[in-house]
Amino acid sequence: MEKIGLDQLPLLDLDGKQVKVQDHFDHYLLLIFLRHLA
């Protein structure tokens, strides 16, 4: 099974601060990557 290094995802919150993705879920996370807004 493919594994993703969640610690290495450079995702930002709406204030532009780096987030630790694991802090946002307990069991599963569905990540939806958008193409563009609207």
Binding site: E2, I4, P10, Q22, F25, Y28, L30, I32, R35
Partner: protein
Amino acid sequence: MKSLKGEFDRRGVAIAVVSFAEPAKLSHYQKQHRWPFIILADPDRVAYGVFALRRLSWLRVFSPATLKVYWRLLREGMKREHYGKDDIYQSGGDFLLDREGNLLFAHRSQDPADRPAAAKLLEAIDSSARAP
């Protein structure tokens, strides 16, 4: 997706939406739309790269299936909003992960209209939960 959020909650699935728009632009968008999801920004598209989300060809972006979807949305009254310079060629995708980072489900869109139905995502979640 919004209407089925309860089904995801019930299965212990948090939903995070990732955009390559700048956080300030996303913040403005979220104030208007109030999506009930975690909203995250990846302006340098590093995470897009990690999940192998490539840029689409012109032919895929303007495929008949895509034009059909946009035509339907316009007929339903969707207004086109402008949030700066978008890259219409960037593909999207949907990924289900557990806390260890195991990729339990992956869907990389082949054209803009190619997104898995929420029911298919719920099915994938239920299958993962049943797996030993």
